[in-house]
Amino acid sequence: MNIAVPIKLVPDVAEELEINDDGNDLERDYVSYKVNEFCDHALEEALQLKEAHGGTVTVLALERDETEKALFTALAKGVDRAIKITGVDEDANSHTAATAMCEALADVEYDVVMTGVQAADDRDGQLGVRMASMLGIPHVSAVSDISVTGDVMTVHKEYAGGVMAKFEVTPKVVLGVQSARQTPRYAPVSRVRQIMKESGGLDEKESDASNDDEGAVVRRMYLPEKGEGAQMIEGDADEVAAKIAELLNAKRS
């Protein structure tokens, strides 16, 4: 089974995010990118399936500050091929990203596309579902517990309350991965460096997908107003703990 894993690099939300002067996007100069955590799970699950059943894993990503590092890391983890897609704007929406990813898949052999179920920036919907619809193949989102028997995959789609729906899917199919069977593996920096030196470099593909807003334009982007939120408790750790204890005890009595 050959698996393609399109990964999204998204602004690191643990960092402070600023809005640009036009007030309609992030200030991209200050954004640091990281691999969407759900995509990291998709990659891990793809590698698990490869290890159990053979086949290849190809990872694809749009060019951002951290893309080379992410792709070489994927190679160090055991991916067979890594494709960097150039020429797509940094503020590209999921629609544009999906177009570029689908173009790049044209010469990739795949049975299954596995990507993160969602990302912090997909205002216009999830990458995987968009790709499936463009490729004309079925999709199942929010899956975990993936297994393969012959040509058929069994997946579990998560609903609220811990209920799961079990589906059998026959590739080709796109899976939006919610979580891998184990915590995504770590590639030691030394191994990544070695791969950077030894590999013939990354495959590159240029895309001319233009960043079409598709009729839904951001008029204003802003940080949610502060003030109505939590009352912050002042003091050192012990004073804060005392105040919290007081609040808890008042509620318990």
Binding site: V13, L17, L26, E37, S94, V117, A120, R123, D124, G125, Q126, V129, R130, S133, M134, P138, H139, V140, S141, A142, E158, Y159, A160, G161, G162, V163, M164, A165, K166, F167, V169, Q182, T183, E214, G215, A216, V217, V218, R219, R220, M221, Y222, L223, P224, G229, A230, Q231, M232, I233, A237, D238, V240, A241, I244, A245, L247, L248, N249, K251, R252
Partner: protein, 319 residues
């Protein structure tokens, strides 16, 4: 195109989900603003439309493959409904099921989509939405200016009661499209969560841990605190993904919805998926070293002191 608002009904095990009523309540406001009618697409295998009285009309598609949700079959049926009824706006829950429909409908019918919406309104000829992006840290106001749009709305954004109305509206049946997917995605049944563990929905006092706990080795600290408080430990998704706690302890969109008297959130950033599961707690106290963490928008009290200082001190004071 019409001025109609179309809500896509979501159902599981024969019951219409809350998010559907939330959308019906909002849909009524929007239909009043556009001067259109409020319709609901009910894709199922003979599910009753009782209780959907808030809608003007049910557009029903019945098929064996639509009994429980199936992404492959549902999108074909939904696309047919939208093709035929040409709604001004289609409202879908931004849920596990809705995710499989909204973006697919957008591509198939070439209609713009705004996802992760917290609010939707009509402004003149445009649909205006507010989406919650970047882990809840940023809001984006979008304008859909064309004559059709799709909005997927975060569960819990609107009151469900506004959309609950006795009775069944008028019905229009549509034949299921002949090729309702080619059967490459087959629904094989539902898997219920394993029982036997603590039922966190039944506890009045919850101590919730997130990524800030750093390591599984630190969990005993939190368990001691929960014991001193007389409550139970629950968590956000990453803790369960790391298998530090069982799935039965997960609060949020794909976990459980809780409404305790006390919710003490330790090292939880407050991603929208988590907030969805706990925002109705009576008293929320958040401990997180990142002062910009969205959890503080939802908590009643907060502190940025280190949780590893707060937790032992608090345990001692409560014991």
């Amino acid at each position: 195109m019409s001025n109609d608002i179309l809500v896509v009904a979501e159902h599981l095990k024969g019951a219409i989900s809350d998010v559907t009523f939330e959308l019906l309540g909002k849909g009524r406001e929007l239909a009043t603003a556009t001067g259109g009618s409020l319709n609901i697409a009910l894709l199922s295998s003979g599910l009753s439309s009782d209780g959907l009285g808030a809608a003007d009309k049910v557009i029903r598609v019945d098929h064996d493959r639509l009994g429980e949700f199936n992404p492959e079959a549902y999108i074909v049926a939904l696309a047919a409904v939208v093709e035929q009824s040409s709604p001004r706006l289609t409202l879908i829950g931004n849920t596990s099921m809705g995710m499989d429909l909204a973006a697919a409908l957008s591509v198939r019918q070439n209609i713009p989509l705004v996802a992760y919406a917290l609010d939707v309104s009509i402004d003149g000829d445009s649909v205006v939405t507010t989406s919650q992006l970047y882990g809840g840290k940023v809001y984006a106001e979008s304008v859909i200016a064309g004559d059709a749009g799709i909005v997927s709305v975060l569960a819990g954004s609107f009151p469900a009661d506004a959309g609950r109305k006795e009775g069944a509206p008028s019905e229009e049946s549509m034949d299921a499209p002949e090729a309702i997917g080619d059967g490459r995605v087959v629904f094989k049944g539902l898997v219920e969560p394993e029982g036997g563990d603590v039922d966190i929905t039944q506890h009045d006092y919850l101590v919730a841990v997130g990524r800030g706990i750093q390591s599984e080795d630190n969990l005993p600290l939190v368990e001691e605190l929960a014991k001193a408080l007389g409550g139970a430990v629950c968590s956000s998704r990453p803790i369960v993904d790391s298998k530090w706690l069982p799935k039965t302890r997960q609060v949020g969109k794909s976990g459980l919805k809780v409404k305790p008297k006390i919710y003490l959130a330790l090292g939880i950033s407050g991603a929208p998926e988590h907030i969805e599961g706990m925002k109705d707690a009576e008293l929320i106290i958040a401990v997180n070293s990142d002062e910009t963490a969205p959890i503080f928008e939802h908590a009643h009290y907060g502190t940025t002191e280190d949780l590893f200082d707060i937790v032992p001190a608090l345990t001692a004071k409560l014991s």
